[in-house]
């Protein structure tokens, strides 16, 4: 470009880069219970919409707190055969399964040296109260390996008091590495299929290497298995917030 003056054109500094701080933005998004997210399939979305209406209806009447796997919960259910007609069980949540109204969570505890796991349905009308006693996330989303761990890691006091916690605090992640009982275990937890980070494997090196033989490194690049739920989650979160505020 030739300017009219003959002098070089005025120096235009490059535009300043706009830094979008995604970390602070992510923290604002609240927790969405995993049973609201519809699974991939050929079912009519009307079915999930109607199920969600029922779930919201139940949540309006009965408070279901937000909890992850690893939290310690106390659940009171109505029991026709108990003396007080109600039954209280305290335990650590090891698994959350099911979608829609049939969503379940499994609580584990060891009472008088006997390990007990109870699978409760979130939306069952027999549940009278769910209290979160301790908020704590673990390194994995499935703590089934606690069955093969030493019993001290699954014992929780039945008369535990709820641990006080400030709202708007991040849920702490407990990076506890659990010690296991001697093998055989119910499942071969050292295999990469389970991707467990919360166990302190005391197995010899050659066994850990041999377990890597079953690794499937191509799985993370498989595009057919990708299920991007971000947009669906946003829609459902909006719907939930609207309905619960009514």
């Amino acid at each position: 470009r030739v300017s009219s003056d003959g002098k070089p054109p005025k120096f235009q500094p490059p535009p300043k880069p706009v830094i979008i701080d995604r970390k602070t933005q992510k923290e604002e998004s609240r927790f969405l219970s995993p049973e609201f997210i519809p699974p991939r399939g050929r079912t009519d979305p009307l079915k999930y919409y109607i199920e969600r209406k029922d779930m919201i209806q139940r949540r309006k009447v009965f408070n279901i707190p937000d909890f992850y796997v690893g939290h310690i919960l106390a659940v009171t259910t109505a029991d026709p055969y108990a003396s007080n007609k109600s039954n209280r069980f305290v335990g650590i949540c090891i698994q959350r399964g099911g979608k829609g109204l049939g969503a379940t969570f499994v609580l584990r505890n060891v009472i008088e040296e006997q390990g007990i796991e109870i699978c409760y349905e979130l939306y069952s009308p027999r549940i009278q109260a769910i209290e979160v006693l301790k908020l704590e996330k673990r390194l994995d989303e499935n703590l089934m390996y606690l069955r093969d761990a030493l019993p001290e890691y699954s014992t929780f006091d039945v008369n535990m008091k709820p641990v006080p916690r400030m709202e708007h605090e991040e849920i702490p992640v407990n990076k506890l590495q659990v010690r296991m009982k001697p093998k055989p275990w119910s499942k071969r937890w050292e295999r990469p299929k389970y991707n467990i980070k919360g166990i302190k494997f005391e197995l010899p090196e050659h066994k850990m290497k041999a377990a890597q033989k079953w690794s499937q490194p191509w799985l993370e690049f498989d595009m057919m298995r990708e299920y991007d739920t971000s947009k669906i989650e946003e829609k459902i979160r909006k719907e939930l917030n609207e309905e619960l505020e009514k």
Binding site: T43, D44, V61, P80, L101, G102, P125, Q128
Partner: protein, 242 residues
Amino acid sequence: MMPIWTKSGEKKPVTLLKVQDCHVLRYVSKEESGGKTAKLLVGGKNVSPFSKPESAHEIFKEAGVPRKQKVTTFNVTDDAIIKPGTPLYAAHFRPGQFVDVTAKTIGKGFQGVMKRWGFHGQPASHGQTKTHRRPGAISTNKAAKVYRGKKMPGKMGNIYRTSFGLKVWRINTKHDIIYVNGSVPGHTNCLVKVRDSKLPTYKDCNKNPPFPTFFADGDEELPEDLFDEEIFQFTDPSVTFA
């Protein structure tokens, strides 16, 4: 399929069936059809008219209705005849009724005798030579022939089957959905025929159903959801055993 809870806290599995654009297409009188009762032809889901020739559209043109994917017959008594062209809704059924559901089962293709008929096959080891899932003997020596209808490998599924005596727990009038107890033959989103139950135990169970059918332009105004008496509704507080 979805769970539903009763007032005593028991869980029942329930199938959702949607009534999608059902219209009565034609009335066939007793003498014309040659059966014991008159028949009503009813059509199901709407479908594009361009994939079939004009001659196939006659029934739909007479009734004044777009082309339907499925046409079924219902045997009907003389006092339940409906004019062709009336739409049918889910409110035709009421909670507490018992219903038979017919549909084509999921097709499994050509299947062997163990999956198709439940034969036990042969042991996996102890000297079996190339024989683990075969039928074994197909007839006796004296018969000197194989009987007709002998269970053998073949195409399995994709045939009409009925589940009898299913209870209707709930009806959604806004979206025309019927909640039926238990499971129903067929894959998800397949076409299904719902009929009043013919089992003798449920002969007198329908108390004041909408007869001959539920008319949307009538005076009745139904609430959005109709529940059976025993169902736990989510607006109530949790169940307690006193």
